[in-house]
């Protein structure tokens, strides 16, 4: 509907004329960009790069030769080792319930600093599923047509929100599937199975769960779809909650296993992910106010945020 509306407005503006103009935007010196999402299961990896002026046509550049320090609860924990390509890695893995501070000094840049707190893991208590055969299309031969059904899976993920403070969650994951390729005769009747092969792909979620759609600016009833589910505990703070979501299947494909990653993150991490998506969504609409992406890196750009993740594997039959 939005599109229909802007379409008619665009028709009206067809006579509009465009000119290239000079805008007096200050050409500020490049700033350090530090990006790292840290968690107790991995070594800390920080990517350093530098920002560029908006009209600079050169590609973005990474920054090497910087001094990158990590402090744990106020004490210097480690000076990270540069691996090249702007990548710096630690020897240690961060711990839950700890505060980490990143300090970066690089020649030619203002030093930058960022702090995060690693939330304790919230466990997936249960994961249930139903599979549902739904009509996914129609297959036609020169003589006749028939409906094609594929398996759609509805998952119900249960967890308990700790409730002490605001919590922020993200669900992502992978699926293993057995894909069947059928053999057909001249009349397009299935006469046998050619091969079964196994594949893995990132989950793509579809949900009408209010904790997710509540945040979206979509039409009600249309639901949300995307590669991750991002939500807060606003509605269920301190309570057990069961989130439901679907994986849409396609003909000939059956899920054999899903591996879910359930992240508990700090607010900075959440705000970064959310604003990044919104900036992307609104790009190109001249009548919409642009969305600034959240950054917690003082004197620079980027995100330094922690999370802890529970993983859960479920076999499907």
């Amino acid at each position: 509907m939005n599109r229909l509306f802007y379409l008619s407005l665009t028709c009206l503006l067809l006579s509009a004329c465009e000119t290239v103009i000079e805008v007096d935007i200050p050409r500020e010196a490049p700033k350090l960009v530090a990006n790292a999402l840290i968690n107790p299961d991995s070594l800390v990896a920080v990517r350093l790069s530098q920002s560029k002026f908006v009209l600079d046509n050169n590609p973005l550049q990474t920054v090497d030769g910087a001094v990158v320090k990590i402090f744990e609860n106020g004490q210097l924990k480690e000076t990270l080792q540069g691996l090249g390509d702007g990548l710096y890695q630690s020897q240690f893995k961060p711990a839950e319930n700890s505060e980490y501070t990143l300090q970066v000094e690089a020649p030619g840049f203002d030093p930058v600093e960022a702090t995060t707190f690693i939330q304790p893991k919230v466990h997936i208590q249960d994961l249930q599923y139903d599979s549902l055969s739904v009509q996914s299309g129609t297959h036609c031969t020169p003589d006749s047509c028939w409906d094609i059904y594929s398996n759609t899976y509805r998952f119900r993920l249960t967890f308990k929100d700790p409730g002490a403070s605001a919590n922020f969650y993200e669900v992502s994951g992978y699926a293993n599937a057995a894909d069947t390729i059928y053999l057909y005769d001249e009349s397009w009747n299935i006469i046998g199975i050619d091969t079964i092969f196994y594949s893995t792909w990132p989950l793509y979620f579809y949900t009408e769960d209010p904790v997710v759609t509540n945040l979206e600016f979509e039409f009600e009833g249309e639901g949300y779809e995307g590669p991750t589910l991002l939500f807060t505990d606003e509605i269920f703070s301190g309570k057990e909650y069961t989130l439901s979501f679907d994986q849409l299947g396609y003909f000939g494909s059956n899920l054999t296993e899903v591996a879910l990653q359930f992240k508990t993150m700090d607010e900075a991490h959440y705000r970064y992910l959310r604003s990044k998506t919104l900036q992307n969504d609104n790009e190109g609409n001249p009548f919409a106010e642009p969305v600034p992406v959240y950054s917690n890196v003082d004197q620079g750009f980027g995100i330094f945020a922690g999370y802890s993740a529970d993983t859960y594997r479920l076999s499907l039959h």
Binding site: F5, A16, L55, Q61, F301
Partner: protein, 804 residues
């Protein structure tokens, strides 16, 4: 009623003085048409006291029993003088004649009440004839765009008729059409306003120092009174322009008692293009756009004491497409018809009853209905041949998205004029708002799945009450004060809000010709407008204050000086400071309200502040009339969750704004006019830098750097602070010339005009174009640049106007 009478009795006795006094009252009308003259003056020379007529032309002046000399004046009209000895309450109805029709213009020393005399400040009236003489986009006279030329009033984007008064938003204007609020006053995405100037009698704009009788909006009152219809003779007026034609007919049904007025306007781009589209598509398809306005009024004078008015307005904008097809099976004609489009518009209706209880007490009862509705619709009707029944059957499907607001209101207002030193107004009103924030209706008789359903949220009802009392008091010969109190309340979903709004305006004479003015007003607004575009689109949604989103409040103080130069030029200089709270804006990233989703989750609450200075030099009479206005202003907003909580400039924050409007009667039959506007560029948010986003987030790929250290991760834009850049300054000259000629049947005029005479490429919006180009060797070169989009270049227009 008893209560009112008692109150009045007490007030009367309070004001009673020793000397015997009598009241002169009546109506001041236009001589040739019998139209009410609003704001005409009555002045008694010996006692130097006076008053002015109200919105219905009624006046009342109580004077000591003595010899009186009453002078009746109105801008552009010859004065009338009545001298007599006042021995009892007297009714005098006066008809004033248009200067243009007078052989010899009587210049009276006591002209209309001068700007320095009135207590009301921050108010401007532009004579309607002047509005009609000014150049207009495509020749379509636009009342609201003329208002934009006044100081303190900012226009929004290029060509649109939205008004931003003293830093307020477009939703904060109370636009009254014969006392009925109009919710969306624009056609064609704001390029034209809904008011047909041919049918307008009087317009007043109030920007601050609001008298207690007005309430419900924060920033301005635009009080538009339509003509009532000529009581003497049948007349018509109209025009044929490039995009629209209009016609107004008026006349007596019963001479001097009953009159009517009907007025219509329609654009015809679609009528002209329809045959072309048809030819292109072999007759099957049509598409187009039009808007129309229709006003109808009738009034009846029962006696000097009672008069009834009925008026209605309807107007719509419609974008549409129609697709038709036909085939014949078994001798039966089967039709297929598909249509869809967008449609939005207002309907207003008003019933008003003027009653004069006594020569000192006048009342007006108003019952009104106002509806704004926006619809997106699509439908098809398909005839098919049922093989079983061997019959023709029809399948249909209709879907519509509807949003809007509907008001029912009742209002009673009293004017009580006990003595020349007091002018008391009091009254009360109640409005029932029905908000429909968006519903999706589907109906179908399709064989497989018949549907008849409505999705989305249901209507919300809110009731707004208000009562007020104000008195325009002449305390001394130098000091006059308008003090009042406006009380209002709003009831929605079990929640009740109320508000006390004191209003005060004072005028103090320093010498004979110069007055100082000051005012304070507190305003409350119980409805919000959800808008993201900021350009006043029909999709903008009216919503009520709720438990979570309280009503908007504003406070404004203003100080000013008013005087006149050589009796011809009115000069006013004012400074103001205004604060606003509980303003709403969409959350960052929200862009369009979803059906049924709760809008309250999608908005942020914040505050606004604006201050500035306005200078207006206006000339209302003579061969050359017009004004020049200059505004120096600041307007900003502060929202906890926008722009990281930091205060930012409002989109239409405009440091300097100049509006010039001139109409010159060059020869007897030739008028020339021009307008020139200048404004500081609009505030915009632009990207300043680009940087790398985090790479490992699910859904993104891993971006491995190249050997030279460069890499192409998902890039993010850094915008700096909100609205921290300015587009280029906006300026534009429009001009027109009209050639009038008397004909046997009446008068005609040819009007030639130009919009944007020197074809200034004014900025509409700016965007970052990141496309590149290929070199002759086939190599791709990125080439980022900012581009400015401009809308209207030099546009000539011609129109033909007639009146009989």
């Amino acid at each position: 009623m008893k209560c009112i009478a008692t109150t009045l009795l007490i007030i009367s006795s309070f004001f009673a003085t020793q000397a015997q006094q009598y009241t002169v009252s009546g109506y001041i009308k236009e001589a040739s048409s019998g139209e009410n003259l609003i704001g005409a003056n009555v002045f008694d020379k010996p006692t130097a006291s006076g008053t002015s007529s109200n919105n219905y032309g009624f006046y009342s002046l109580t004077l000591p029993s003595d010899s009186v000399t009453l002078v009746y004046t109105y801008v552009g009209y010859g004065a009338e003088i009545r001298s007599f000895f006042l021995t009892r309450d007297t009714t005098i109805n006066i008809a004033l004649t248009d200067n243009a029709l007078l052989e010899e213009i009587i210049i009276s020393a006591d002209q209309a009440e001068q700007i320095q005399e009135i207590t009301q400040m921050s108010a401007v009236t532009v004579p309607i004839e002047q509005i009609k003489s000014l150049p207009a986009l495509l020749g379509e006279v636009d009342v609201l765009k003329v208002m934009q030329l006044l100081p303190g009033v900012q226009s929004g984007n290029e060509g649109t008729s939205g008004l931003y008064v003293r830093g307020g938003g477009p939703d904060q204007n109370l636009i009254l059409l014969d006392g009925v609020p109009v919710y969306n006053a624009s056609h064609l995405f704001g390029f034209f306003s809904v008011f047909n100037a041919d049918a307008v009698n009087n317009i007043q704009l109030i920007k601050g120092g609001f008298p207690a009788r007005y309430g419900g909006r924060l920033s301005s009152v635009i009080d538009i009174n339509m003509k009532e219809g000529n009581l003497k003779e049948f007349h018509g007026e109209g025009s044929v322009g490039l995009i629209a034609s209009k016609l107004t007919l008026e006349g007596p049904i019963w001479k001097d008692k009953t009159s009517f007025l009907v007025s219509g306007r329609r654009t015809y781009i679609d009528l002209l293009t329809r045959p072309l589209i048809k030819a292109q598509t072999e007759g099957g398809e049509t598409a187009g756009y039009y808007f129309y306005d229709l006003n109808a009024k009738v009034n009846h004078t029962f006696s000097d004491r009672d008069r009834l008015y009925l008026s209605a307005y309807t107007g719509d904008d419609k974008f549409y497409y129609i697709n038709k097809d036909q085939e014949t099976i078994d001798g039966q004609t089967l039709d297929y018809r598909e249509e869809g489009g967008l449609r939005w518009g207002n309907i207003t209706a008003a019933f008003r009853w003027n009653h004069m209880y006594s020569s000192k007490l006048f009342s007006n009862l108003t019952l009104t209905y106002s509806r704004y509705r926006f619809t997106i619709f699509s439908a098809y009707e398909d005839d098919y041949f049922d093989e079983e029944d061997r019959q023709k059957k029809t399948e249909y499907y209709q879907a519509a998205y509807i949003s809007g607001i509907k008001d029912l209101a009742a209002k009673i207002d009293f004017d009580y004029i006990p003595s020349p030193r007091h002018y008391i107004r009091f009254g009360a009103n109640a409005i029932r708002h029905a908000f429909s924030p968006g519903a999706y209706q589907i109906q179908s008789n399709e064989v497989i799945a018949p549907i008849d359903t409505t999705l989305g949220s249901s209507s919300t009802y809110g009731v707004e009450y208000a009562g007020y009392v104000e008195d325009d008091i002449e305390i001394t010969d130098h000091l006059k004060v308008n003090a009042g109190l406006h009380l209002s309340g709003f009831y929605v979903n079990g929640k009740f809000y109320s508000s006390w709004q004191p209003r005060l305006a004072a005028r103090y004479f320093v010498g004979d010709e110069l007055s100082l003015k000051a005012s304070y007003a507190r305003m409350t607004q119980y409805i919000h407008l959800l808008t993201n575009s900021g350009i006043g689109l029909p999709t903008d949604l009216w919503v009520p204050a709720t438990e979570r989103i309280p009503p908007q409040n504003a406070q404004q103080v203003a100080f000013g000086v008013a005087t006149h130069l050589k009796k011809q030029y009115e000069v006013s200089l004012e400074g103001y400071y205004k604060t606003m709270e509980n303003l709403i804006e969409y959350k960052e990233g929200a862009s369009f309200i979803a059906i049924g989703s709760d809008w309250q989750n999608k908005v942020e609450r914040g505050a606004g502040r604006s201050y500035g200075m306005e200078l207006l030099l206006q000339k209302k009479e003579g061969r050359t009339t017009g004004w020049i206005g200059y505004t120096l202003s600041w307007s900003n907003r502060q929202f906890d969750n926008l722009n990281f909580g930091k205060r930012f400039p409002y989109k239409y924050d405009r440091r300097h704004d100049i509006g010039l409007a001139l109409v010159h009667q060059w020869k007897d039959r030739v008028d020339i006019s021009c307008t020139w506007v200048f404004g500081t560029g609009n505030a915009v948010t632009l990207p300043m830098a680009i940087y790398a986003g985090e790479e490992s987030t699910a859904g993104d790929y891993y971006y491995s750097p190249y050997p030279d250290g460069s890499f192409s991760p998902p890039s993010l834009y850094y915008y700096g602070e909100r609205n921290s850049f300015r587009m280029k300054a906006y300026h534009r000259l429009d001009a027109s010339i009209s050639f009038k000629k008397k004909k046997k049947w009446g008068e005609r005029a040819w009007i030639f005009g130009v919009y944007n005479a020197y074809s200034r490429k004014n900025p509409f919006y700016i965007y970052l174009d990141e496309s590149g180009y290929y070199t002759p060797t086939g190599e791709y070169k990125p080439d980022s640049k900012f581009k400015q989009v401009s809308l209207f270049p030099f546009i000539p227009s011609v129109s033909y106007r007639f009146s009989f």
